[in-house]
């Protein structure tokens, strides 16, 4: 299981990865599930990016600047910064040359005024350049941070607009990365990587330029002596990157092994697996050691190699400068200056592999962010939406078909009309299409063929705000935000008062539950509602739905085992919730179907039977069989 661990401070990512691993071992509580839609993998971003997927760095740069044009200011500032920094660095060797040739060894001997004057002037220049550089960098940072903030928000907003199909459990970590770590790597690139590129190139160009002024032949020789570095360093760097990729893979494997030892602790002990697990862990850490040492070998070689090339350059400059220099009209100071100029080259050259690495990571991050922004929104909203009247709503499906992106049909030929105010139970075996039907009702997806009308209006014509007010869904898992009970319920209608919230509970017969809470409405529910039991979370979700007062309520029943007391409260609340509106429940409990006005039986994507519970039992068909097995499994013999 390879995970992408590219970044330095990785607490967040690692906790996310841990949470993802844990999700795989979520406690059972559901029967065999419906065929899941083809899971979008993190690589799907590449699929959406189309031409961006294979795009080189320049293309990403161009597209990125188009999306956030404010970054262009940063680019200009970077160039200024580069020139200023290079000038500052070049000042010293030039000063040395001047002082040695004109102030010390010149025809007039030691000229104190010149020496002190030039030194003072250079010192002042250096300080001024420092101040200028600092001011420029500050502006650069400010400009970049502003554009990154806007990029972060854009990506976040777009992700929420994406259809639900894009939000799988596996995907979540990747989506969060778009808004966090990918932006971080981009920030590092724009505030350091890009700067380093331009600054270092300018220094190298400037150094060779000054060398050329002193003597073009010696400059050429120096360039040639350095040339092989252009092959050696990238080779080293590529090997290092490959090794680092392997490190990331092995680190991921280590992570999984440790995680298994922890989450499977009881199994390890129950089956006496301590020694074999220890062996595996010892193996994986040894592998990690080996791979990391390989990467270390390459990284250990980089600076020394640059150093050696530098020394070859210096030695060559000395030899040639001394042998030919006087003949070529060089001065003593110029030869000495060469030595210091070559010294200037070492830092940029040594940095190159790190710069290239950071650039690749930055561009990769940018590419992913641009990719997510380019992902099409499956469910486009109408510009001028129709509103729905209040009160219970009718449902009308004509020739309804639905298939996922890869063509597997899930719903076929669904034609039905449901009167407003009906309490409907949707039943069917796994894979029958009932959950998909519920998704279509709340417009989490659009039908592939056919239409779906609620309250007489085609769903695609409804304004989003109106649709959300009139049609509500209570999903299976009872997700709650990390806030108080009251705040979570208020999400059903933002302008509700505390009293109205309490009323919602009372109407559903849940006043006693609310009263029993230690802090009443202000009781915090914890992360994802962790302080409440699964059943209690459903109660809060129901109160939220009640507060919202929709004309059509779609309920995806939880299947996890709930204690009898909460079970009773839920059943009662559901009955009350159904009053005054149309309610469609995806039923997993016998009692739901028995209590419903109308039962729809789905099989293989079609509605095969419809009628009341009693009617269908009499019919002796698919529903009757389901009913039998429900009964048989629960009554004692």
């Amino acid at each position: 299981m390879a995970r992408d661990f590219r970044h330095d401070d990785e607490f967040e990512m690692r906790h996310d990865a841990a949470a993802e691993l844990l999700r795989e071992y979520a406690p059972p509580g559901v029967y065999d599930e419906e065929p899941l839609p083809p899971e979008p993998s993190p690589d799907d971003d590449e699929a959406h990016m189309g031409d961006l997927a294979e795009a080189g760095a320049l293309k990403v740069l161009r597209r990125g600047l188009a999306v956030t044009p404010e970054l262009k200011e940063g680019l200009a500032l970077t160039v200024v910064l580069a020139v200023v920094t290079a000038a500052g660095k070049l000042a010293l060797p030039i000063l040395i040359q001047q002082v040695l040739d004109r102030g010390v060894r010149g025809p007039d001997g030691f000229r104190p005024t010149f020496v002190y004057g030039a030194s003072a002037a250079t010192a002042v220049a250096v300080v001024l350049l420092y101040l200028l550089g600092r001011a420029t960098y500050l502006r650069l940072v400010r400009a970049t941070e502003a554009s990154l903030l806007s990029l972060r928000l854009k990506a976040f907003g777009h992700i929420h607009r994406l259809s639900v199909a894009e939000h799988s459990d596996q995907r979540r970590g990747a989506l969060v990365a778009r808004v966090t770590s990918d932006v971080e790597t981009l920030a590092q690139f724009t505030e350091w990587g890009a700067v380093a590129w331009i600054v270092d190139l300018t220094i190298i160009a400037g150094a060779f330029g000054v060398m050329g002024v002193y003597d073009w032949r010696l400059a050429l020789q120096t360039m040639l002596l350095f040339a092989p570095i252009a092959i050696v360093l990238p080779w080293l760097q590529r090997r290092q990157l490959d090794a680092q990729d392997e490190v990331r893979t092995v680190v991921g494997e280590t992570f999984s092994e440790v995680s298994e030892a922890i989450t499977g602790a009881s199994i390890v002990r129950a089956y006496g697996l301590e020694r074999s697990r220890r062996g595996r862990l010892a193996d994986v850490i040894q592998r990690q050691y080996k791979v990391r040492m390989r990467a270390a070998a390459y990284s250990a070689a980089t600076l020394p190699v640059a150093d050696i090339f530098g020394s070859i350059g210096v030695a060559g400059a000395v030899a040639t400068g001394v042998y030919f220099g006087p003949g070529w009209g060089m001065d003593f100071g110029e030869v000495v200056a060469f030595l210091f100029l070559i010294g200037l080259l070492l830092n940029p050259l040594g940095e190159i592999s790190e710069i290239v690495d950071r650039t690749q990571i930055g561009i990769a991050g940018w590419r992913k962010i641009l990719g997510i922004l380019a992902t099409p929104i499956d469910v486009p909203e109408p510009t001028e939406g129709v509103e729905l009247p209040g009160g219970p709503l009718s449902i009308e499906a004509s020739n309804l078909h639905f298939a996922y992106r890869d063509g597997i049909p899930v719903l076929r030929d669904v034609d039905l009309y449901i009167e407003p105010g009906t309490r409907v139970a949707v039943v069917g075996e796994t894979g029958s299409g009932k959950t998909t039907f519920a998704k279509l009702l709340t417009r989490l997806a659009d039908p592939t063929i056919g239409s779906l009308r609620v309250g007489g209006v085609c769903l695609q014509d409804l304004s989003p705000a109106g649709r959300r007010r009139a049609i509500r869904m209570v999903p299976q898992d009872g997700f709650l935000f990390d806030a108080s009970v009251g705040d979570n319920v208020r999400l059903g209608r933002m302008d509700a008062t505390d009293d109205e919230i309490r009323d919602a509970f009372k109407v559903l017969g849940l006043g006693w539950w609310l009263d029993d809470l230690p802090l009443g409405l202000t009781t915090p529910v914890g992360e994802r509602g962790a302080n409440l039991s699964v059943g209690e979370r459903q109660l809060v979700a129901l109160a939220r739905a009640q507060l919202g007062d929709p004309g059509l309520l779609v309920l995806d029943e939880a299947t996890s085992a709930v204690d009898p007391e909460t079970e009773r409260a839920l059943t009662e609340a559901l009955a009350r919730l159904a009053e005054g509106r149309t309610m469609v429940s995806i039923a997993h409990r016998l009692s739901t179907a028995e209590a419903a006005d109308l039962v729809l039986v789905f099989e293989n994507g079609r509605v095969v039977e419809r009628g009341s519970h009693d009617e269908l039992v009499e019919l002796g068909g698919a529903y009757a069989k389901l009913y039998e097995s429900w009964l048989g499994s629960t009554r004692a013999a």
Binding site: H15, A18, L100, V164, V336, R472, T571
Partner: protein
């Protein structure tokens, strides 16, 4: 605050105090003691590098005086030129070798220490009693094994270099003194100033850097929660609200990053400008000294070259001092984990063996609680005869699972004895217990491995046995439909098994042991009721074992010979189901509730 529990891993703000430095030093010392070879080579390389770095500047000085200067005056021998070239290259080569050794073996030392820590933590995780995992979050434990260890050893990497820097500084001052005492004085003014500037920078950036990390964490948390509830956000139309939430935290992050940027903008260039100014002063003063004959130009060149190489090394020293407090914090956390004692077990082979065949169980005065202050079982007595099928019934939280784990020897009772097959479990040979007692949990954990490996754990089990176990647990059909069948790897991308399928596999796994005592803790809760009936019927028929079933369904209870009713931490009643319904009101009420729930 229980022993061994870990505190949250928020980015700690390192505090500089002598105790931290002392602890840091002992950390480094321990690593060097455990892996002396690597560190010796690294430090040797570092010393060589330092000496050769100073040597490089000396070489330049000599070459200036004896090769370049004469070349522009009287002329110079080819020999001399060759000698100068050889000197420069030789010193460079030695310096490079030193640098490579320093870097490579420095990593070697720190990575070996990583291995050491890792195995220590792993050994603890594998040997502590189970309640350790109840007290600590998995995410935190993973962070210990991963991020904390990495923090603890990262500080070791710059150690060889830092020691080398000390050599470098001493050698630099020494060589300057030999060249010209006045220049040395300038150097002595510069080096500490650089160090002081470094420290201000490091101290000043700590706080904003920690803020940035914390705020990044908050942004991440908001995004994560928001995407987690994407469905709710969509259906309730909360997009605007979520956007506003993120914007607030992202703004805070931005301002923290601007603070960091300010520090960087001010100090990073300053750390380069200062040596430049120093070199200019050197040049001016040095030129004057040359003019008075007190100094050769070569000496001046040497001094200026020296200044050039000093910036980076001093920063490494600063870097290590920065990392050290964080490493100490991580080591503290690791040591707290390691302080957890392993579960006391009889030595291999020393314990008593459990007999063969169906086993009875005898619990006497058993007390147990995950939190010792809140016992779940209080003075429980129970007897299970060999070969019986017993249903364990009780309200939620009454301790049914706990009882099962005690019978499976996963926990030791706080008081009282648990005997299986007549043997006190605290004196039993662990291997024998594992062979004879099998527990299937409600949460059926499967490793990322093939189905076969998950069933047999690599032991030699015949295909016939496996087929039998899969048949009894009604898992044979779905396994044969999986791509690869028994060799299908669980948990990889692709087919994810449903809860019911996992449970059936876990059951097959338990059965393969041919246990004398089989404990089913809600082990079929996610399985379709019809299938569950078949499984239980198969169990009754096909196994000569004692079975204890934790049951919530009347159909399950009906299968048992006898019911043990767990209430108030004890067995409140025991007998056939119908008898208990008639005579024990609390039990009847519970049974009624189960019936209603099933009907729902």
């Amino acid at each position: 605050m229980t022993e061994g529990s870990s505190t949250a891993a928020a980015a700690p703000t390192p505090t500089r105090s002598s105790s931290i430095l002392r602890r840091g030093a002992s950390l480094i010392w321990e690593a060097m003691r455990l892996h002396p070879g690597q560190f010796a080579l690294a430090i040797g390389g570092s010393t060589l590098y330092a000496l050769m770095a100073v040597g490089g500047s000396m070489a330049l000085g000599r070459v200036t005086d004896e090769v370049v200067t004469p070349a522009f005056e009287d002329g110079v021998e080819n020999w001399t030129i060759a000698g100068g070239v050889a000197l420069i290259l030789g010193v460079a080569l030695a310096r490079s070798v030193g640098a490579m050794f320093r870097r490579y073996f420095g990593m070697g030392g720190s990575l070996r220490m990583q291995k050491t820590w890792f195995m220590r933590i792993v050994d603890t995780y594998l040997s502590v009693p189970l309640d350790f995992f109840g007290r600590n979050q998995t995410g935190t434990l993973l962070a210990h094994a991963d991020a904390d260890i990495e923090r603890a050893v990262t500080a070791l990497q710059p150690v060889p270099m830092s020691l080398g820097v000390i050599v470098l500084l001493v050698a630099a001052v020494g060589s300057l003194a030999a060249v010209d005492p006045l220049l040395m004085l300038i150097g002595l003014a510069l080096f500490p100033t650089l160090g002081w500037l470094n420290r201000i920078y490091a101290r000043g950036i700590e706080q904003p850097a920690a803020e940035t990390q914390e705020r990044l964490g908050r942004v991440s948390a908001v995004a994560h929660e928001s995407f987690d509830g994407a469905l709710v956000v969509k259906t309730l139309g909360l997009e605007q609200r979520e956007q506003a939430r993120l914007e607030r935290d992202a703004e805070a992050l931005r301002s923290a990053r601007l603070d960091v940027g300010w520090m960087r903008a001010t100090f990073e260039p300053a750390l380069e400008t200062l040596p430049q100014l120093g070199t200019i002063v050197l040049l001016a003063v040095g030129s004057w000294r040359v003019s008075t004959g007190a100094l050769d130009i070569g000496g001046l060149v040497q001094a200026m070259a020296l200044f050039g190489i000093l910036v980076f090394p001093t920063r490494v020293l600063g870097y290590m001092l920065e990392e050290l407090p964080r490493a100490v914090v991580s080591v503290d956390r690791l040591e707290r984990v390691l302080a957890n004692p392993p579960r006391p077990m009889p030595a291999d082979g020393a314990g008593q063996q459990l007999p063969d065949g169906p086993l009875g169980a005898h619990l006497e005065g058993v007390w147990f609680g995950y939190d010792p202050a809140e016992p779940v079982l209080s003075g429980l007595d129970a007897v299970i005869e060999p070969g019986e099928v017993v249903a364990l019934v009780g309200a939620t939280g009454s301790g049914k699972s706990t009882l099962c784990t005690l019978l499976a020897d996963l926990h030791d009772p706080a008081a009282g004895t648990v005997r299986v097959g007549g043997v006190d479990l605290t004196e039993a040979d662990p291997a024998s217990v594992r062979r004879s007692v099998a527990l299937a949990f409600q949460e059926s954990f499967l490793f990322v491995a093939s189905i076969r490996d998950n069933l047999t754990f690599g032991e030699d089990v015949s295909d016939k046995e496996i087929a039998w176990a899969l048949d009894v647990s009604r898992a044979d059909v779905f396994v044969s439909h999986l791509p690869g069948g028994l060799n299908h790897v669980v948990g990889e991308r692709g087919v994810t098994l449903s809860g019911g399928q996992r449970q059936r596999l876990a059951l097959a796994r338990a059965l393969l042991r041919r246990p004398g005592l089989l404990l089913l803790d809600d082990a079929t809760s996610a399985v379709d009721p019809v299938i569950e009936q078949q499984i239980l019927a198969n169990l009754r028929r096909g196994l000569s074992t004692t079975t204890l079933i934790v049951a919530h369904r009347l159909s399950t209870i009906a299968l048992a010979d006898r019911v043990l009713f767990l209430q108030g931490g004890r067995i409140a009643a025991s007998g056939p189901h119908t008898e208990l319904v008639a005579t024990v009101p609390a039990y009847a009420a519970l049974a009624q509730a189960y019936e209603e729930e099933d009907a729902a």
